[in-house]
Symmetry: C2
């Protein structure tokens, strides 16, 4: 018997490097699960639920290029939407495989389980619903033997072109059929996009002239370089230019922080996060070359970046903008490669190399743990080539960007989508994508609760990350950004976090709960030695605030008509009230 | 200061009996959370994640009429979709309140966090996406001061009319504005639907004649009676008719099982679940009067019900069908009320009263636990007015329907949507909706894993259900319905379930793990006495199968080309292989 529909699709996903698939089984999707289990080159990874499986596929995709999530129809499928939204926002290549009622049931117009209660069964409803979350807004399709080859190729090309999720929905009874092979060559939209040579020449010339004519220039590489496989081309271009480069929050770790031209974080006027003198320098540039950074409030320091847009260049995946001029149909890789040859070498004085603002560990062993000493210890824990997951947690976001990373460390975060709890399943994906690399996650306990039921999966599949779960008594990111820090919805059910891994079956894990720096140091020393997974619950007082947090508190205070408030001021007010 | 936009919406939800709101906070929705916390008549219930909050609101709505779930934009909102799909499928009145970027951000065309990475920001994308899951396909709207009053009334009317979810999406900066009160009377579509009197008369006459002319008749009341507040009208009509009534899987407990006219479950030819002699009797009827039962394969015993469609009547919420004649614009309540006056009293011989097929507890204290003795003990545990949640788990589905329920017991299940894991958050909703009633949930450990992170919430808010978590070594419902029972995706990470409540902070709960009938009996005796929540992990061997499961196994065997297989046969094959 020849290849089946699902075997064809899986073979193409394996061509892209996929060796694991994350999912939750269900009857409409059984034959997909079966085919994965039958395939010696793809490991089925059973997740605790569908959202988690989607986040895990996202984490995997960030490290390995493409990630796969499998769910059943409707009841399973809709639960993946949150992960697909995140993958779309963050340009992560997630492939969603779902099953659906067979063509037999569809022909009979039967209402099956896992359907909504419409007057007329609409089997394709969830495909229609998911489309906006997929590549090009049209990256979801029902796969039949007839369209299998064409649609598989079309969807994969769209995923690669847009760096967005795609969705294959298989009628139950078509999955094991033989695909009908098309006659002749297929014409696949968006496959192998080519630059228009004339446009490319013009764009490169325009950039050359902008840089040559500028008094002061810098480069802002963005995380899209990695999604489009252009990191080495960007490095060559940056080195040819001799210009300093800076990164925003979302772009941390895209290039080596030990590179002599790396000048630091550009974080606008975010007090506690930004270095004002660096921001002054960047904003004094009359030429700023972006290599795909994105403009949203978490990457533009809440709109506090102040530069002349006309003096900016942005080299995007398939287009380049130079000031007000738009050049379409030029590929990022081609522009960077051409610039590496053409860009004038800067004779600007070089800027000091980046050092980070998180120092070596300080504090006494008996001290309770506060944020800065915690960050100092995370910084000290890092080794070259670690993967560091910064969960959507103020605890992670306000510390990790300020650390100077050892060579090869990748920081992964969901900077624009910002789903709390994303990190726990995502690090499962990272860990299985790169079994030879150490994975460390910094999470707040609030977000962690959303997805902590994934813990058992780590043990089952031998993933051994280091969990640094900061228990600071609630949703701290919300505490410092909402109306009143003591609003009851900032509080959580009181879990005993250090007991969670064992309760979920992580039998040999090193788990502990620490409240002092001495305990934290001892636990981290154990973590360095552990052959198992590690889970450290780190207690930080509810009313502590990390550096960079007070600025958010003041800013959101202004939003709520409380312009003069500070965190310290608020604490004093509360203390006075309690007397 | 007068009422704000959110206060207006909340006041209307309170009019419908809402006293709790389930949710996860987030910045775009802070003012909604604030307004709930400020309102002495609505309790904020913080859930572990958004999907769980949606399931909890669904459980609450089933018991109290209307349930509310709150989430933030995008990253939170998309995670509720699974729960909204379920609420749509099961006609549960769930109100979803979300925040979104303010009109200020929308005017600036800013890309904010929690958005997907489209070329142009489309703030209303998630509203468009959710619409098919809402009442009438159009029950989701962006609420502004201008449209607040009209749209609130329109959505509530649509929710009541269709018994489906609705979605209010609030721009952050409009939530605390004053709504603009409309001049004059509003005309609200679908509010106070009225029967057309001529159609009503004709429909009732047609039913009268059908019943009067029939040799043998029966009634199939459906769960929609409860959703539309028509239970007492249905009871009056049934009593006036003198006809026996039967229920399908989804309709269990809709009317008292102690009613002298209740004749049993009608489960087609589901071996182990159906009573063939009853199915023969039902199918010999030349007049079958449905009071809104739904036709999907979980409620029609996988298409094994065999009767003449032309001899059936179905009284639906807003229409009635008599044989092939359709009567639109007749309200269920009016049809039932009229029939209670008009229907001829049957002179059929009465059928024996229902006894159920789950007996009194049997087995020795030293016996390991198997399914039937477990069901016998669940049956014996039930007291009048309990709420019994049957999670989407074969362990629950194959036992609970066969129990004869004490007076006033409600069984809640997600019979058509069938999301595994729904029950754990749903019972939180049930418990908070009816604090004076005892809630018992039967769940399989596989589904329970999906949503078990909700456990801490029970303790935080004082909900004290009895959890009967059957740990049978994996996804048992999948084991008996897929290709090979030992497929690896039927297995799970090995949790220590009995440790979960304590790890999530349920400090004083009675929790235990039992493997023998004696241990189970002792644990249930403790459960009867407990003033706290109760969590019993019940171990049943992986290769046991509940009554009614073998028929599924044979049926799905046929689907996979294995028509002669039986569970016992398969076990013997496996044993032989291992020798």
């Amino acid at each position: 018997m020849g290849q089946t529909v699902i075997q064809y699709v899986l073979s193409r996903l394996k061509d892209l490097g996929v060796t694991e698939a994350f999912g939750v089984p269900g009857d409409f999707v059984y034959p997909v699960c079966d085919a994965i289990c039958d395939d010696p080159n793809i490991q089925w990874i059973e997740c605790a639920n569908e959202l988690n499986a989607g986040y895990a596929a996202d984490g995997y995709a960030r490290t390995k290029g493409v990630g796969v999530v499998v769910s059943t129809y409707g009841a399973g499928e809709l639960c993946v939407f949150g992960a697909l939204g995140g993958a779309h926002a963050e340009n992560s290549k997630v492939v969603h495989l779902t099953g659906m009622p067979g063509l037999n049931e569809q022909a009979g117009n039967f209402r099956t389980h896992h359907m909504i209660a419409d007057q007329q069964p609409n089997y394709g409803l969830f495909i229609d619903m998911v489309k906006p979350l997929t590549a090009g807004g049209d990256g979801a399709v029902m796969i039949t033997p007839e369209n299998c080859v064409y649609e598989t190729e079309r969807l994969i090309a769209a995923m690669q072109y847009h760096s967005k999720p795609i969705n294959f929905c298989f009628p139950r009874d078509m999955i094991d059929k033989s695909p009908i092979m098309p006659d002749g060559e297929l014409s696949i939209p968006l496959a192998n996009p080519q630059s228009n040579q004339d446009t490319l020449d013009a764009a490169v010339k325009d950039i050359f002239e902008s840089v040559a004519g500028a008094k002061q220039s810098c480069i802002l590489p963005g995380y899209l370089l990695r999604r489009y496989g252009c990191v080495s081309e960007a490095k060559a271009m940056i080195e040819a230019s001799g210009l300093p480069f800076f990164v925003g929050l979302q772009d941390k770790s895209i290039l080596s922080e030990n590179h002599p031209q790396f000048a630091g974080l550009y974080m606008g006027r975010w007090v506690g996060m930004a270095d004002d003198s660096l921001s002054d320098w960047v904003e004094a540039c009359d030429c700023i070359i972006g290599l795909g950074p994105e403009n949203h409030e978490f990457n533009n320091a809440f709109h506090t970046m102040q530069y002349d847009f006309k003096g900016t260049i942005n080299i995007m995946p398939h287009s380049t903008r130079v000031g007000m001029a738009q050049y379409d149909n030029v590929e990022m890789k081609d522009v960077l490669t051409a610039l590496a040859q053409a860009i004038p070498k800067s004779d600007q004085a070089s800027l000091p190399a980046y050092t980070g603002s998180v120092g070596a560990p300080t504090g006494d062993a008996k001290d309770v743990i506060t944020y800065e000493p915690f960050y100092e210890r995370v910084g000290a824990l890092l080794r070259p080539n670690d993967i560091l997951i910064s969960d959507t947690a103020i605890t992670a976001v306000l510390g990790i960007p300020r650390m100077k990373l050892p060579e090869g460390v990748d920081v992964e975060a969901q900077t624009s989508w910002g789903a709390i709890g994303w990190g726990t399943p995502a690090v499962l994906g990272n860990a299985l994508a790169a079994p030879d690399r150490r994975c460390i996650i910094v999470a707040g306990e609030g977000g962690h609760q959303l997805t902590a039921n994934e813990m058992g999966t780590f043990y089952r599949y031998g993933a051994k990350p280091i969990f640094l779960t900061v228990n600071n008594g609630g949703f701290h990111g919300e505490r410092v950004t909402n109306r009143y820090p003591d609003e009851e919805y900032n509080d959580l059910a009181q879990w005993n976090f250090a007991d969670i891994p064992a309760a979920m079956g992580c039998e040999d894990w090193y788990t502990t709960k620490v409240t002092t720096l001495g305990e934290l140091d001892a636990a981290l020393a154990e973590a360095e030695k552990a052959a198992s997974g590690v889970y450290i619950e780190i207690i930080i007082d509810t009313w502590e605030i990390p550096q960079g947090g007070d600025w958010l508190f003041r800013g959101t205070g202004a939003l709520f008509g409380m312009p003069t408030r500070t965190w310290d001021g608020w604490l004093k007010e509360m203390a006075a009230k309690q007397k």
